[in-house]
Assembly symmetry: C2
Homo-oligomer: 404 residues x 2
């Protein structure tokens, strides 16, 4: 029997308890031993819930119990999660977490502590919910040099964009719908502004390139500026707008990373990732394109990933699973020098197509969706050039990067 403790009895924590109960027998076979939840930590009480029998309020009971071999941290946020996790590792316990903030900020350090002690720090559930992506990156794509990772990593924004596209809602309506269904928080900024996706692509990039990618360095733009008119133009172009979290290694081996809405067409593997689903596209220099798809959030899919990590930790109780994520910082390319094509809308009275041709040279005109608008796609230009040219479009109504 292997004793574990669960820190946090919220959505994911209760999911972990449920999964271990539902699939206990097959999990025992996979882990080679029974997994027993000895403690659940939470500051709250849960009257009537059988969890009360093992509920504790003091983390030290867990940290000081040598019988606890694996600690599952599913509280979220940096503190006190960071202190608890670090202390657990220092006391010889492996840790499994679903906490993307914690992993993005302290992943390299916590992996080092685990490695020194032949323990494990596992975090499959921190990116893509139930989708296996951390383990495939670490253990399956090891023959490749990764040249691109692009993900639809935030289910809430993907739901909003899908609703806007499929049902013609505007942004506010789609957001309210997402909130009503529990997909979006009352304060939706972490999702809508792209901060959540930013932390997740920081984690994936750090693993893909083996060095620390600081999320603070990643250019991040959310979807709050996307209007129903943009969606109509996308349809006119046989395209969809998706919030992409992307990191790309260019020929000179430098990496850039960004989170931003992107127009894509049906030939992109992520085109059909709709609703609250997530998809992660990886390109390697020998494997070519691979894509992983599934539920990016939700109680049971996320708990499934957490419990799979518990199984792996149980199978490797005194053996570190090799993960390459050095604390050495990877300096990203300044986004100003990255090139894209941009879809641009402007007030025709202030910016005519011929004005735009003068400004950009070769452009691709887009038939108007709204009366008296100029709409076109620019040639491939740097972000810096685009910024400068925007200053010269007086009737500018919006721009979205294009990947087709």
């Amino acid at each position: 029997m292997i004793n574990i403790a669960v820190l946090g009895y919220g959505t994911i924590g209760s999911g972990v308890v449920e999964v271990l109960k539902t699939n206990g027998e097959s999990i025992r076979k996979r882990a080679g031993d029974k997994i027993n939840i000895k403690y659940v930590l939470d500051i709250r009480e849960f009257p009537g819930d059988p969890i009360m029998e093992i509920l504790v309020h003091d983390v030290n009971i867990i940290l000081n119990d040598p019988e606890v071999k694996i600690v599952v941290e599913v509280m979220g946020g940096i503190e006190p999660a960071y202190s608890f996790v670090k202390e657990a590792l220092l006391k010889g316990k492996s840790v499994v977490t679903s906490n993307k903030e914690l992993v993005a900020k302290h992943g390299a350090e916590l992996l080092d502590i685990a490695k020194e002690r032949e323990l494990n720090f596992l975090f499959e559930a921190s990116v893509g919910g139930g989708i296996p992506i951390i383990r495939p990156l670490n253990q399956s794509l090891t023959a490749d040099e990764i040249v691109e990772i692009t993900g639809i990593l935030n289910g809430t924004t993907n739901y909003i964009l899908t609703k806007m596209s499929d049902e013609g809602m505007n942004f506010d309506e789609a957001l309210k719908d997402a909130q009503a269904l529990g997909y979006a928080e009352r304060d939706p900024s972490a999702d809508v502004e792209g901060y959540d996706a930013c932390r997740k692509i920081a984690i994936l990039s750090s693993l893909a390139y083996g060095m620390q990618v600081d999320f603070e360095d990643i250019y991040t733009e959310g979807i709050a500026g996307i209007t129903d008119v943009d969606i109509k133009y996308a349809k006119k172009l046989d395209a969809r707008i998706k919030l992409f979290a992307t990191s790309i290694r260019e020929d000179d081996k430098n990496v850039y990373a960004m989170v931003a809405p992107m127009m894509i067409r049906a030939n992109h593997p992520l085109y059909s990732v709709g609703d609250v689903f997530n998809g992660i596209y990886v390109r390697g220099n020998v494997i070519g394109d691979v894509m992983f798809y599934g539920s990016g959030a939700g109680k049971l899919p996320t708990a499934s990933a957490v419990v799979a990590d518990v199984v792996d930790a149980a199978k490797h109780l005194n053996k570190n699973i090799w993960t390459i994520w050095s604390s050495k910082k990877l300096e990203l390319i300044d986004i100003n020098f990255v090139k894209h094509r941009f879809f641009v809308r402007a007030d025709r009275k202030k910016a005519s197509i011929s004005d735009m041709k003068k400004l950009f040279g070769e452009i691709t005109e887009v038939p108007e969706v709204v009366k008296d608008e100029t709409a076109f796609i620019t040639p491939l230009i740097t972000e810096k050039e685009m910024k400068a040219k925007k200053e010269h479009i007086s009737g500018m109504l919006g721009s979205i990067r294009v990947r087709f």
Copy 2:
């Protein structure tokens, strides 16, 4: 330095040599040691190729060299691959293979031998080419009970069906096109008749359910009977025809498995898997739907998967990676008792819609694509019932299972 030997210098074997050369430095980091190819075995000579320096014709040189820790078998076919692999394991070497025939037939036995000796027998490349699917099934989806695996597992047939659908080719034209591009063999029966997909779904099912699924037990139907008229009807129904290799665990925990063409619509995760790509959809009882997509064949993608297994074997030189695949046979449900809906075409003069209504009860009529045809979709009925009813449709022109 870890010495390996490669058995077979064909497409995949030369790909393995190339990948280890191209990405040698990053592979060294991932494996924790340099991977050195000490021997390549082939009966042929390769004048002018630097491989000549390490080419041997006698497998015993490899089997008897204690410095060789990992043997890579990429010859294909049952013999002599089986004898070589078994002997290598018995002599204390881990084995990596891309050989689906070998794994489907002898996987359980070879895994047992490896387990007893704390060695590894790894076969990621045997299914789905470069797509990580074996390792995710073994190591990532461990918290779930798998209730369905459905794959588009054969690139050749998927290419043919895609060409028929996108470019209006008939079957023979599309097959010739695939042969011209090297996607199909001169004798295409292993692909076209579904035998290749059958072995692959046998492997995935054995891993998912932990017991031996004999490929001989799997009902297998190819795509040679699919006509351009069928494709036109599929389009009329907003559907596509895909060769599905599927195994499903029903409520009573019994499993059925089959390979057969299937009509699906855009809401199925495998709908957009086109061309020579493969896609594998897995449904777990807690994780829900996940899907893996990528190049299902090809020199470098397959070699990438082989080398990733070499890296894993190198990291686990004296430790068996736990894989649950007992040699105990899983008795599949008799396909006669499995239910589907069927799309049916018949000569209207011999089989009118009202005749069909009498025969099947509730049917869904499909507008005719070819003059004087009766086309419809049956209610959910067993394969046995369908076979019996077919006897009563004198002008029967074809039927395809429907999954929507």
